[in-house]
């Protein structure tokens, strides 16, 4: 008799109509598991199908079938055995008693190899005949409870798993089914089949652990899992997946409903990718939005794949994760990128548009508006008045506010200025620092950031939302702060640029009005700049002179020297000074003094030379003159020295010569005067000759001395107010005796008392000299006239004689030194030739003049003019 036992499915299945929602434990390898389960299920089904029959088919072919049956039993991998009892056990006994009896009286009547093996027996043979309690522990509570269940369950147990430890200490797991036969109210035998599910179980456990891990992992990753049995149209969603859709956990879902939850824009795509995979069996992946029951939208990343059997998709599985965070981050990044792009654009504009800061500020304000998603904004800058900000630029509804001023601490800008920090106000109308003058509703949310230079606030950039509900977030604020930095830099640059231009202007003004010629050269020695005076001077344009053009203006003979000096100084980065000639606009070469110094940047970099030149031509010539003058002066000094020596010599010599002559004079005088006794006439004669001769010598000496004195610069006149009349009379008186000798008469005419500033002695001597000459060069019995005449500022004294006169030619010479004019009387006249020279000198020293009017044989008139 063949008994086939049913083995039920261990799975629980809730089967509902139509749409099926499987509720089961999760499996990692769905497919393998499914197959494994499928095969088990098939097997179980197969077994189930034969459950009804209690006897094997084909009783007639009993021997054949018996053999087949035996073979089947023998070779089965399942353990099959039959228990017989020593004595039947009445069913009415207590469970406990029955269990006890089973232990003691049940014995293995039949067992196959597999069964024996399960109990550690090598063959069924050794197994057979053993009572239960000989290979099962009576005290083992598991066995006891197993047997109790068997009894209580109507002598049936199916699919029971139990655990055993084999002789080697290994854990073993079996699945066991046993059916007992009850006849006449007693249990008589039992059949048992058993599977060694140790491996299966450990695999299962391993699998379970993996499943658990997966579950945990999935739970941790909130990855949703789905499975779609296409044949049965059974869609299975994991708990996580349910949550991902914001649905309640007990929600069941269909594909149609799923599609309904997909964002309309993504629906087509969703269908497409699924269908494509179903056709191709290729995996897909796509992002899509779904809508939750509360209306919120979320982003999911779905992956899936269809599995084909014989070209037809039978099943699809997939996973799903929420990518809201990523999408949000992407959105944030995109937004930040757009901010950065705008900042970058602003920065580029700012750096490129020196001198166009209004434009840059406008662009900054505009970008700020874009970043903050509002068209309303303004920029305040500090005005000239103290503690006041003025709106420089405005956009949107604030356009009309340009020029509006605000004090420190007032309103948003005023407060930002005061605190030097950015401020965000979310409800302006309730803000404590709001401007009272603003109408309510003008500003809702506002943000202001300071524009700063070197830590000082110079302005405020502000943006405003005028509709409620809109706010400014921190990303926007930091973007605004970057923009405000740019604005500050722009303003600062503008200021620096202006200062630079002013400085340039000042330099140019200075350079062009300075009286010096200015030039600048670059690092290559070439000239880059000449000031206006230079160009005017050379008559050439800056274009002609720059580079090396300047060399054409240099005097060719000086060019080498000029260039070498410049080059040497340039190479050594040292100042230089040189003189050379340069062609002026009129073609004339002028000496100039050129001084150059090296230029360095603020970081010490050599940048070329700068220099200035002045026209020193006049000075140079003057210097030459000065040198000549100096030479002349020194020559003059030498001459004067020599002259002085000469004068001193003359003075000394004269003096020395006088001494012996004086002695001669005294002694001859004594002799002549018979001091030493009487002298004979002849002695007297000789003595007189000697005396006269000596006198002549003395005269010569006197003349020499006087001339030397008159010539010397030390000749002193004692000019005092004198009555010229007196001097004239004195002079005439002194000549009287001389004139009487020749019977000459001196007549004085027009003598009036007149005060003249003169050296009385010298004038007297001069007049004596003239009168003497007049006497000497006149014949006896003639008249000499001295006439005085005053006219205006002049006094005129004319000495006239009617003597020999002088020729015109001689007239010029007679006032010279050493001159004696030859005339009739010259041999008889004593004289040294100095007389008239002295007279002229004396008169000249008095500021007067003397001249002669004469003709030969007609006498002469000497006219003396003296200033009054």
């Amino acid at each position: 008799m063949l008994h086939v036992w049913a083995i039920c499915k261990s799975t629980q299945t809730h089967v509902r109509d139509g749409g099926v929602h499987h509720r089961r434990k999760y499996r990692l390898k769905i497919l393998t598991r499914f197959c494994a389960q499928a095969s088990e299920w098939r097997y179980n089904k197969a077994v189930q199908q034969t459950e009804g029959s209690t006897r094997p088919i084909g009783l007639d072919n009993s021997t054949q079938s018996e053999e087949r049956y035996q073979a089947f039993i023998r070779n089965s991998s399942e353990g099959i055995w039959r228990f017989e009892l020593d004595a039947p056990i009445p069913v009415k006994l207590s469970v406990k008693e029955q269990v006890r009896r089973i232990f003691e009286t049940a014995y293995v009547a039949e067992a196959n190899r597999a069964a024996a093996k399960m109990y550690g027996f090598s063959s069924g043979g050794s197994f057979i005949g053993l009572h239960l309690d000989q290979f099962m522990a009576k005290s083992d509570p598991e066995v006891v409870s197993y047997l109790e269940s068997f009894v209580k369950g109507g002598y049936k147990l199916s699919g029971t798993e139990y655990h055993q430890v084999d002789s080697a200490g290994n854990d073993m797991y079996f699945r066991n089914s046993v059916t007992g036969t009850v006849e006449d109210g007693c249990l008589v035998r039992a059949w048992s089949t058993q599977q060694d599910v140790t491996q299966w179980r450990s695999a299962n456990q391993a699998l379970k652990r993996s499943e658990e891990r997966l579950t945990l992992a999935l739970r941790a990753s909130t990855m949703g899992l789905w499975e779609w049995d296409l044949k049965r149209d059974q869609l299975y969603w994991s708990d996580e997946l349910i949550r991902l859709y914001g649905l309640p956990l007990d929600h069941s879902i269909t594909y149609k409903e799923y599609l309904g939850l997909v964002h309309p824009d993504d629906k087509a795509q969703a269908q497409k990718v699924i269908q494509t995979s179903m056709k191709t069996g290729e995996p897909y992946q796509f992002e899509h939005r779904i809508t939750w029951p509360d209306g919120s939208q979320h982003w999911l990343l779905g992956q899936g794949q269809a599995y084909l059997e014989a070209g037809e998709a039978v099943r699809m599985i997939g996973t799903c994760v929420n990518i809201d965070a990523r999408k949000h981050d992407e959105a944030v990044t995109r937004r930040q990128n757009s901010f950065l792009q705008m900042l970058h654009a602003s920065a580029v504009e700012a750096s490129q548009s020196i001198g166009q800061e209004a434009q840059v500020l406008n662009s900054i304000l505009s970008h700020a508006g874009t970043i903050c998603d509002t068209p309303h904004g303004y920029i305040y800058l500090v005005s000239d008045a103290p503690d006041e900000l003025r709106v420089k630029l405005a956009s949107g509804k604030f356009k009309a506010h340009v020029g509006h001023t605000i004090k420190k601490g007032e309103g948003l800008a005023g407060r930002v200025w005061q605190t030097n920090k950015p401020i965000i106000v979310n409800d302006y109308d309730t803000w404590s620092y709001r401007q009272r003058s603003f109408p309510k509703g003008l500003m809702n949310a506002a943000v202001g950031v300071p524009l700063q230079t070197a830590g000082t606030t110079i302005g405020v950039l502000a943006l405003v939302h005028d509709s409620p509900g809109k706010h400014f977030d921190s990303d926007q604020l930091s973007a605004l702060q970057r923009l405000s930095d740019l604005a500050s830099i722009t303003l600062n640059n503008a200021k620096l640029f202006e200062e630079l231009q002013e400085s340039e202007q000042r330099f140019r003004s200075l350079a062009d009005t300075a009286p010096v010629l200015i030039w600048i050269s670059g690092v290559d020695m070439g000239l880059t700049y000449f000031n206006k005076p230079w160009c005017d001077f050379t008559g050439r344009s800056m274009d002609e002179e720059t580079g090396d053009g300047w060399m054409h203006s240099i005097y060719p003979g000086d060019l080498d020297f000029c260039y070498q000096t410049y080059k040497t100084a340039f190479d050594n980065r040292e100042p230089y000074s040189m003189e050379y000639r340069i062609r002026r606009y009129d073609g004339v070469f002028r000496w100039i003094l050129d001084k150059g110094v090296p230029r360095f940047s603020s970081t010490g970099e050599f940048q070329g030379f700068i220099g200035s030149c002045i026209d020193i031509d006049d000075m140079k010539r003057a210097n030459d003159l000065v040198m000549t003058n100096a030479q002349l002066k020194s020559q003059q000094a030498q001459l004067l020295a020599v002259n002085k020596t000469k004068d001193e010599f003359i003075a000394l010599a004269s003096h020395q010569l006088r001494t012996p002559a004086t002695a001669v004079k005294q002694y001859t005088s004594l002799l002549i005067n018979e001091f030493a006794g009487p002298v004979t006439p002849e002695q007297l004669k000789y003595l007189r000759i000697a005396f006269d001769s000596n006198e002549r010598q003395l005269q010569i000496i006197n003349d020499l001395l006087k001339t030397a004195q008159i010539d010397s610069s030390r000749y002193v006149l004692e000019k005092k107010p004198q009555d010229i009349a007196k001097i004239i009379k004195q002079a005439a008186k002194e000549l009287r005796a001389t004139c009487e000798l020749k019977n000459q008469k001196i007549t004085l005419i027009g003598i009036k008392s007149t005060t003249v500033e003169v050296d009385a002695n010298e004038i007297k001597l001069a007049l004596i000299n003239l009168l003497e000459n007049a006497s000497k060069y006149s014949y006896p019995d003639t008249e000499i006239t001295l006439r005085m005449h005053k006219s205006g500022k002049r006094l005129e004294i004319a000495v006239t004689d009617v003597g020999v006169g002088v020729s015109k030619a001689d007239a010029r010479r007679i006032f010279d030194k050493f001159t004696r004019v030859d005339n009739e009387l010259s041999d008889t006249v004593t004289g040294t030739g100095f007389g008239l020279y002295w007279v002229k000198r004396i008169i000249n020293l008095h500021g007067g003049s003397i001249k002669v009017e004469s003709a030969v044989g007609k006498g002469a008139t000497f006219i003396v003019r003296l200033p009054l």
Binding site: A651, S654, H655, R658, T659, A661, T662, A663, K665, Q666, Y667, S669, L670, N673, F675, L698, I701, N702, L705, K706, Q709, R714, Y715, V716, L717, E718
Partner: protein, 136 residues
Amino acid sequence: MTVAKRILVIEDEIILQDVYKLVLTSGGYAVHVASNGIEGLKKLKSVQPDLILLDIFMPLMDGKEFLRNVDLSEYPDTKIIVYTNLSDKQTQIEMRQLGAHDFIVKSSMTPSDLLAVVARHIGTSTSSSPKRRTNQ
């Protein structure tokens, strides 16, 4: 008998010293000589002359220096005649400034001229002269 007027001749040329001495003594004056300024100063003190004939060009101490070294207030009655062959104006002025009463160029004077000049200044030897004081 009246005391002869004294003349001090300060002159380095001996021949001239001699002739002046000769001439002036013949004029009745008591003549004393010195050969230079230093001697002159000494003789001045001892002689207390009525007149000094002072040469300029002398060794050891010249006439200028002599005058500088004389306290003329001690000799109020002494006439000083610079008797020299240096005839330049400058010297004349200087000597007058130093106290000389007259300046005469030697070479222009004969012996009789000299006597005349001396008489003009201090009178003849025997005549009385004004402001004469007896020395202690």
